[in-house]
């Protein structure tokens, strides 16, 4: 079984599926939906089977494959996952079938409040599957060039998902999303191109393989420029203040299903890239940049949360909470402690699920009221208790209630940060208080109180909708109570990455203790 090309199959299956769904007859919408669901479920099952074959404590990268792709550029089709990539792949493939279920009826209509024209249903699902292939690819790539290819190509399906199926301002939002991401991606391209002659110089042969590049010693201005090239792209993707402004617009206009993947998975590519590429390829430059990055992370946490409180649009609200949460993740990564980074990785997964659930539920609410405004709702829990209940659980996970998934990761990030950078950790902790405000106040305004007249006829979650949300809620609870299996997979990878960072420039004394003790919280 170890020789089975797991990852290539996991990338190829949805890609081929996307083509298949794309060529189905336009009229037969049911078939397109069923095909998309079947493919994404098979994909998820395959990925879970693969996970059982993953050996914790074995090689760092497992299920590796390596073939020449473009020999003239020194580019390989090289895939493989370590613990971090594995959990993110799992996050993606689990979310996609749920998104397919959730988008079952919504796909034909574009979102928003107007009476929208009919859209091609099969294209929507084909785009979702294409996106899935690229999401798996971007996490599985162990060749920097291949990573870049997926990183950029991923934008196109999202662009069409937002632009064709979004709300009234969709084309503005789609273009803004694409241009922000493209600009970041192109700056990264310069860094990627630069890596090749650099590796020729330092290693004796040009390569884009991650495991070879990470042994390369780059320092001085070159490292700083390269670091910036990657970091800016990832910061836009993540998104961090001050390059976050595309996210609220994209979120407000995007269809709920696609939004789950954009915020839940796509943006994780940014933080994943920081952890994997910025830190391990350019450890010296990463340390050089740490103060600024930490400051930006803290600003993101507080600023995102404050803006979230002030929102009147539910999707924008959840988008701003994500900006705040991404601040936490970046904080954990750049704290450069095992605990912080493990916590950050866990946070990526948890945030994917809890925000995914929130966006799905918001999508269901919008489908019922044809409005995303908070003041369009009120007293929902009286007429739709299941909807309100699941919203509360997902929301509470977002504000890190102990027992729910995000709590563990947020705590780890804060402890991991505190052990090295006290002030940012203390400031970041205020984000938790703000989170309580934006979640609970939103719940109170939309779900609590007497049911408004317009809300009274609102139906509760249908079976299909329950089917989409229930697995996520189960995961949120399970990960809150038993994060250990996931952490066990993540920890060795994070430690290896961190070893690379500290190898050349010993960190302050306190770090040694933390790195050793922090591994098992």
């Amino acid at each position: 079984m170890t020789d089975f090309p797991w990852l290539t199959v996991l990338i190829a299956l949805p890609a081929v599926g996307a083509l298949l769904v794309g060529v189905l007859p336009r009229e037969n919408e049911a078939l397109a939906k069923q095909a998309a669901l079947a493919i994404s479920v098979v994909e998820a099952v395959l990925a879970i089977v693969m996970t059982t074959a993953f050996k914790v404590g074995g090689d760092r990268f497992q299920f590796t494959e390596k073939y020449w792709w473009i020999k003239s550029f020194g580019v390989h089709w090289a895939v493989g996952v370590d613990g971090v990539a594995l959990v993110l792949v799992l996050l993606s493939v689990i979310l996609v079938p749920l998104v397919v279920i959730a988008s079952w009826d919504e796909a034909g209509r574009s979102g928003g409040t107007d009476t929208p024209p009919k859209r091609s249903v099969k294209t929507y699902f084909a785009l979702l599957l294409a996106l899935e292939a690229m999401m798996v690819g971007v996490f599985a790539a162990t060749d920097v060039f291949l990573f870049y290819v997926f990183f950029e190509a991923m934008l196109i399906p999202v662009y069409f998902l937002i632009g064709s199926y979004g709300g009234p301002q969709r084309s503005y939002a789609a273009v803004k999303f694409l241009l922000y991401s493209l600009l970041g991606g192109l700056l990264m391209l310069v860094a990627v191109v630069w890596l090749y002659p650099l590796s020729q110089d330092k290693l004796g042969h040009g390569t884009f393989m991650f495991d070879e590049l990470r042994t390369m010693h780059v320092d001085g201005m070159t490292a700083k420029w390269l670091f910036l090239g990657f970091f800016v792209a990832f910061a836009i993707k993540a998104p961090m203040v001050p390059v976050h402004t595309w996210l609220p617009d994209a979120a407000a206009q995007s269809p709920a299903g696609a939004l789950v993947l954009v915020v839940g998975v796509l943006d994780k590519v940014g933080t994943y890239g920081m952890l994997r590429f910025c830190l391990e390829l350019f450890p010296g430059a990463a340390k050089w940049a740490t103060p600024v990055v930490l400051a930006l992370a803290v600003i993101s946490i507080v600023y995102g949360a404050v803006l979230a409180i002030g929102q009147v649009d539910l999707k924008r609200l959840v988008a701003y909470t994500s900006v705040s949460h991404f601040g936490f993740i970046v904080l954990g990564i750049f704290a450069m402690t095992t605990q912080g980074q493990s916590g950050a990785t866990l946070y990526m997964v948890n945030h994917g699920f809890s925000t995914g659930a929130l966006f799905l539920l918001v999508g269901f609410m919008i489908a019922r009221r044809r409005s995303a405004r908070i003041d369009a709702f009120g007293g929902v829990q009286k007429v739709a208790p299941v909807l309100a209940g699941t919203f509360l659980v997902a929301g509470l996970s977002g504000l890190s209630l102990p027992g729910l998934s995000t709590f563990v990761s947020e705590l780890m990030v804060l402890i991991g940060t505190f052990s090295r950078h006290r002030v940012p950790a203390v400031l970041a902790a205020s984000g938790i208080v703000l989170a309580a405000i934006y979640i609970l106040w939103t719940y109170q305004r939309t779900m609590g109180g007497p049911a408004r007249d317009e809300v009274k006829g609102m139906p509760d979650l249908t079976v299909r909708e329950k089917l989409a949300v229930a697995p996520i809620i189960a995961i949120i609870v399970a990960m809150g109570l038993f994060p250990q299996p996931v952490l066990k997979a993540i920890n060795p990878s994070v430690q290896q990455g961190l070893a690379r960072v500290d190898v050349r420039d010993p960190a302050p004394k306190i770090n040694g203790n933390v790195a050793e003790n922090g591994a098992r919280p």
């Binding site: 020999k71 003239s72 934008l155 064709s164 241009l179 310069v190 191109v193």
Partner: protein
């Protein structure tokens, strides 16, 4: 061809005795050009002797056979053990890069021929001499339509132009190169004025192109004269020798090189010599625009590289800063001005300006990788651009092509396949991975970084980002806007559809599996241009 022989013999025997020595000509090595020119001459005879109704059926196969035979011969030449040779007394270089460029031109010309030969949409006026809007014009038009006659003079004209394009990058002395330049340009000036719709615009384009082209030719010729004064020869290798001797008047040399560069940069449409491009691309019949945007660009880049790599390589520390400036200006200006365009053909013209800038970044490296990258980029861009213009010919309303951007609103709903294909071409222009545009950009940028031109690459990616904006804007119009009630219809003739399919195939294959073509380009560049 005869003119080039004269040039060759003049170069070989400057003494000017009473008896011109018979030059030694390797017909086998010049065969691709000879075949194409032969087909062109035969085409002229067909115009004279074959009946009007049957001309079309003779001209199209004749041109196609000429191009295919030329291509086959080029392949045969390239497959020989040692294809590197200076033929016709050193006037024509037959070497890896040249054969690659010539092969590219021939294939792209063949694809353009599909567009030119498309009969379902008459692209060419029945009688170019008739004044636009006059009764004579209408009469000619009606007569032609009634008799089912197509304009067929375009075929020999096109073949002459293609022959010139083959010779342009192969010319190893400046006089031959000038002759090739004229053979290439003169038919194109004429072809630009033959559009069936919007006659005035078309004629304006022709006149503008002619005047500016003549002007640039004069620059080229003046530069040649000054370089002759410097080196005592118009042969590129003699100029290079003179340079390495560090003798002669530097003023003459620098002034000559500058003037020569103006002539060449005009042909590739580099800023600030790009003014003709938008007007000409817009006014010319779209199939001719496709021919110019692909083949002429390839030929001009081949010639540009030959002049700089063969003649002035030792001088690269002097011309590089200048070319840096031109490349930066070209990329930035092309991308920025394109933002404000509302006509698709003009938009693609400015995009072509920006792409010329990207190509220059690869060419500036003066390395094998740079040459190979540029060659690959030319192939990739050529196919995509022919495909894109082919799509433009398909979207039509009562007044001919609906090239105004606003007319394309909602095309994605009306005909999703055509709009999807065009969007794909635009993404390739924008350099999105998994398209040929990305591979090409990566190849030239990599060469530039290796050649220590990283700032140039930064400018390149920034202008790519700007360029992405207007490509994306077209996609927005096509897919995210509602269709107009009286929107254009999509008319897909079989030949046009074939051209589009070829463009798509090449764009996908060169994006996903570019290795064979990269190998070919790399192989072609193993030896630089022959001296």
């Amino acid at each position: 061809m005869s003119m080039s022989l004269v040039a060759a013999s003049l170069a070989a025997a400057p003494s000017g005795g009473e008896k011109l020595p018979a030059p030694h000509i390797e017909y086998g090595q010049l065969a691709p050009m000879l075949i194409v020119f032969g087909a062109a001459v035969a085409g002229v005879l067909v115009e004279a002797f074959v009946g009007r109704r049957t001309r079309y059926y003779v001209q199209v196969p004749l041109a196609a056979v000429g191009l295919v035979a030329g291509f086959a011969w080029t392949i045969a030449l390239a497959a020989r053990d040692k294809p590197f040779h200076a033929a016709a007394m050193g006037a024509i270089g037959v070497d890896g890069p040249t054969l690659f460029v010539q092969g590219t031109i021939l294939v792209l010309a063949l694809v353009s021929l599909l567009l030119i030969a498309e009969r379902q949409q008459g692209h060419f006026t029945a009688q170019a001499a008739a004044l636009p809007g006059t009764e004579a014009e209408q009469e000619a038009e009606q007569l032609a339509t009634a008799a089912g006659i197509t304009q067929t003079e375009v075929f020999p004209l096109m073949m002459f132009a293609v022959g010139g394009m083959l010779m342009f990058p192969a010319s190893n002395d400046l006089l031959t190169m000038f002759v090739a330049l004229e053979i290439m340009s003169l038919p194109l000036y004429l072809l630009c004025g033959l559009a069936r719709r919007r006659r005035l615009l078309s004629q304006e384009a022709a006149v503008k192109y002619f005047l500016l082209g003549a002007f640039s030719s004069a620059f080229f010729l003046y530069g040649t004269a000054l370089l002759y004064g410097y080196a005592g020869s118009v042969r590129l290798s003699d100029i290079a020798d003179q340079l390495s001797k560090d003798a002669g008047s530097e003023t003459l040399m620098l002034a000559g090189l500058a003037l020569l560069s103006v002539g060449l940069l005009f042909k590739i449409g580099a800023v600030p010599f790009h003014m003709w491009k938008p007007d000409v691309y817009q006014g010319a019949p779209t199939p001719i625009t496709a021919l110019m945007a692909s083949c002429t660009l390839v030929a001009a880049f081949g010639a540009l590289m030959r002049v700089y790599y063969v003649g002035f390589e030792t001088l690269k520390w002097d011309w590089r800063p200048f070319m840096w400036g031109v490349a930066i200006l070209t990329m930035v200006a092309g991308a920025v001005i394109a933002i404000t365009q509302t006509d698709l053909k003009r938009l693609l013209a400015y995009s072509s300006v920006a792409h010329a800038g990207f190509l220059l970044t690869g060419m500036i490296a003066v390395t094998r990788d740079g040459l190979a990258g540029t060659l690959f980029y030319l192939v990739a861009y050529g196919f995509t651009t022919v495909g894109a213009f082919a799509v433009i010919t398909m979207v039509r309303d009562a007044g001919g092509e609906a090239a105004h951007l606003s007319r394309w609103a909602g095309l994605g709903k009306r005909s999703p396949v055509v709009a999807g294909v065009f969007a794909f071409f635009l993404l390739a222009f924008a350099g999105i991975p998994l398209t040929s545009g990305f591979t090409g950009k990566f190849a030239v940028f990599k060469a530039a970084v290796e050649g220590h031109a990283t700032p140039l690459v930064v400018v390149g990616v920034l202008s790519s980002a700007v360029a992405a904006f207007f490509y994306v804007r077209v996609i927005v119009v096509m897919f995210f806007s509602e269709p107009e009630a009286d929107g254009p219809t999509v008319v897909a003739g079989p030949a046009t559809a074939a051209a589009v399919a070829l463009g798509v195939t090449a764009t996908v294959v060169l994006g996903v599996l570019p290795q064979p073509m990269l190998d070919l380009a790399g192989h072609a560049a193993t030896q630089m241009f022959v001296r």
